[in-house]
Symmetry: D2
């Protein structure tokens, strides 16, 4: 950490910063420049927050040098983390394709979707049973009935399942039915929820909040990792942008940025990001070309009848077309696409 003093900050102010550094068990290195005094902190600054110094008299700015996360960092774990989820691998050279409806609406709808995903080569079945909805008047999901259907559909087609958990009190319930726990974008900084999914044995699929920086996403992953659960997948699903041409703004350069910073698998959700069906396939292709470890897309047997997010859900036909387009791109970037179980 580098602490830059204001021009003209006197000795006493410098000493007070040096003292606080010593109080924290670290060493200070004072360097007198032509225009300003600069103080370096020597030692492990991971646990320091800039605000510990930014409020001191005479301090102009504080610049962290080390990352504020550890376990999520590629410095800590050089190799890509590869997870085993059911019969498939996720991360590293493996491309995960997670498909299924936005909301679980009926046994029939879900089983049809599950077969489409499996037959086209997908590796995981998604479906929401507890839906976070902007409006209190919108469909809120089928709850435990939906979870039961998801478990049955996954078993029927041989795909592991992922579903969102939105309340700490539901974690045990969701763990009984699903293979992967999804933390939705709106809960990315629900720290209690992060802590408690970190105490389960289930892989966690963590979505980036539309207001979160990449560093904040990694800090949220750190909450889970620091509880001992190291099976975390990260998902970019669109951030806030000023152009209403798309629902959110897909930040695809987050993919190579994240791959440089962390060893965790990075997945992209073009369905929520764009909100428009015709943009989902091109952006799924782009995600894999950019180096993503997979995509999560919404697919509904009959999107025109969907109870939520109709305009962004693919038809079965479009899902199959996406798989056909993804295959050569995955190959072009040295990845394995199809959801064929490892021998």
């Amino acid at each position: 950490m580098i602490i830059v003093m204001q021009s003209g900050a006197e000795g006493e102010k410098v000493e007070s910063v040096v003292d606080r550094i010593a109080d924290l068990g670290l060493k200070a290195h004072v360097s007198q420049g032509e225009f300003r005094t600069i103080i370096g902190v020597i030692g492990d600054e991971t646990l320091l927050k800039p605000e510990l110094f930014a409020g001191l008299a005479g301090v102009e700015s504080v610049m962290p040098i080390m990352k504020p996360y550890k376990l999520a960092s590629r410095d800590f774990h050089r190799e890509d983390t590869v997870l085993e989820i059911g019969p498939f691998k996720a991360g590293g050279a493996h491309i995960s394709v997670i498909g299924g409806p936005c909301s679980i609406e009926s046994r029939d709808q879900l089983f049809t979707a599950a077969r489409v995903v499996r037959d086209a080569g997908g590796t995981m079945l998604r479906g929401g049973a507890f839906k976070p909805r902007t409006s209190p008047y919108s469909f809120q999901g089928l709850g435990e009935d939906g979870l039961r259907m998801l478990q049955d559909a996954g078993a029927e087609v041989g795909l592991p399942t992922v579903t969102e958990v939105i309340d700490v009190r539901d974690i045990d319930l969701v763990c009984r039915y699903a293979d992967v726990l999804q933390i939705g974008a709106r809960n990315m900084q629900n720290f209690r929820l992060l802590t408690e999914v970190g105490q389960t044995k289930k892989p966690v699929f963590l979505k980036r909040s539309p207001a979160a920086t990449i560093e904040e996403l990694l800090m949220s992953a750190e909450y889970i990792l620091s509880e001992g659960n190291h099976r975390v997948m990260l998902c970019e699903r669109g951030i806030r942008g000023f152009d209403k041409a798309t629902r959110y703004l897909l930040d695809l350069s987050a993919v190579p940025v994240l791959r440089g910073l962390t060893h965790l698998p990075v997945v992209v959700d073009p369905s929520h990001a764009t909100g428009r069906r015709e943009l989902v396939v091109p952006m799924a292709c782009a995600a894999v070309a950019a180096g993503a470890h997979g995509v999560m897309v919404e697919m509904h047997p009959n999107p025109e009848k969907a109870l939520s997010d109709g305009p962004q859900q693919l038809t079965p036909e479009a899902f199959r077309q996406m798989m056909a387009e993804l295959a050569p791109i995955a190959q072009a970037v040295g990845r394995t696409l199809h959801g064929v179980p490892e021998a």
Copy 2:
């Protein structure tokens, strides 16, 4: 709701939209323009979501005409809502000044702060006992011990208290100690939490998420109102911006926008928005001039020693200066500032 069909969308596609409108119990009004067919929905569209139509074949765009919220709307309740919180009124012509430390750190710290707030004419004491922190390694708050101190400090100085609740399981506990429940920005779309604070009898102080539109903030208020709790205050605390000169971007025009759309009191938090002490007082003055019903500011007896958010907490001296500057501005815009109990 207006549904615009694509150029050249044939009769069958138009009929299919008209049928869906009829299925939903509303009437369609088809208008054949020179270039496109346009279908108006006649009836109460509040419960409709654009996505019910946006996914249908031949639909180009769907434009809602009515607001998706009702109880929060000024159409529903023309007059400003005025809340009674302890001995004070909030909303309407009354300016609330809510002050206190970011985190409750000790009995001494909190009581000192409480006296400063009360003596300077503040109307509410704030202090965090459960802190949502970006890093799992940061100070997480004193929990119930902190709540107890807050209750005692409020009683001692005669100020009602506000503190954040971050977990549905803590609602009862927080209700026992505090007068107002704060929903933090990161939980603005934690819909379970909104629903359950809507079932309490306590006023709710709801902060806008940095990624939320004004409409989404009002939808979150609607969650609380629709459970029967009509005592909600809204708080603008900065949204995401691209300029790192401030921590967040204070969206002050949200104040007059919200005052046009809703009857609920609108408060501004310049401390979290700017993250810099020297910007807090000018932006508090600007908030009141823009028509806000109050400000929430962080103040610490000794900000240099604060365990969180040091750089943005005012000193007692700066808090008193802010009160002195706010008084004539409040008067200039026809408002009452000082926290003198109503007779």
Copy 3:
């Protein structure tokens, strides 16, 4: 155009809107809903601006239905526009690869770069002679000397050239030396410059401003097209975002959005968007996978010595590697990559 009246807006206000529509030579269609009156404008609204009505008494909102641009629209010209630029085609199934240094610094630097671009299969040579620089104290380009070098280098290697024009008074000069005129992001709404490059015979490479919506980009293209110059290429080069992990935020979903709205070729510049060399290749691959008609990347024989934008310029080696990675992706999406002149 649909004009929504405020709830309770009386007959006189409606009449006044209807009269203004008639004044403009169009017809009004009044529809009395349950809660609001809605007025449709019948006829060619392309030349109408919402503000002609938004200020009238009783008007709540105005919603355009037709696009405000015509010549740039795919409605106007269904097929992809394919330009002939030197021996190459751009647009349609052809992938353009435009490479070269940020600034032209010397004959040696430019000729070396030109040979790398040509040998690796690029289709156009770029290089700045007039540099728009944020700081008045930065290197501003070599001017006409640079243009002369660019012309010579292009001739030497057989590549057409593109360079930025930043001043209306330089248009003739730049036309004498370069094959394609670039309008930089900061000049996207320099309407005089757009008008006057629209009066030349040269293809125009128009970059999106970091603050511009996709619609605004198309309106700027419309300025050029409406002067009779139909040879326009659009370029996405990053918009403003809140995360400092990258210099700008590459809006890659703008590619399929633009391809739906316009017939003009769409190119992506990952160098300026990301500002970081190691992100350029993955994002170039992603751009082609998303359906872009090409990429513009900065490459410098020795980026460590570059006078501008060093950290984002590729090395020759990285440029060649990019070409190798792009080839199979282009093929996967049915495009032709290599800059082999058409027979």
Copy 4:
């Protein structure tokens, strides 16, 4: 400037950075931390750009410590700059109120507006003769005829005039007619235009681009100042935001931020920022309360007939009401409002 080396960057890489610093005539200070080597640059770094180092092998990040602008900085000139513009002062304790129509449409319209501004206590008359319009099909202004009307109207009512210049070739013309040259938001980084208005003797009113950081605005001011023209006023007029409730997002905390960084007067334009008439007065009040040196607002004798920006232009009545509300707020923050000429 602080240069942070990557973890494990060897001696040769460090030496290469040190050598480059020496080449630039400055001194290096190498500090070996526990985890990383850090190199400080000693000397006047104003002319250095981070990119000179960011591209070197082994460099992780480069952090500037000094501001990249000089003449615009409060370090360079501690006291507020106070300009004399016609009979009025601008900056320091003086509040400027600049009013008038968006576009000059007719002699009658402009003279009526001018009298309203003067009678209500405004200090400058605005009106556009050359209009930068998003669409090539919109009204583009009256050109020299409009300038002549502006000069006459200013003379008639005794107010100095401000109007936009959008083309370097028009500078002489505009200088003949107007008292202050406005650089519009879209031209904030039209560096040729900045340089050449910097060579005139006229005060310059420089608007912030909706995509510009505060630092970039100051760099653009530096272009003008460095040509010898020190009479520059800065104007915040709204940046890009994600909420469509307002046209742009007024960044009012830019006011105290700018006042800390620069000595130049800071004015706010709430008309373009919000795009909605009913938000203009509250935000003008907020701007003055936040410490702005003035406001620029659009006012039209009959906004419903305006040829541009109708919905955001105040009526004469609303303009007078704004002046009445501003007066006590200006007084509350220790400023002088009314446009009474200094004796």
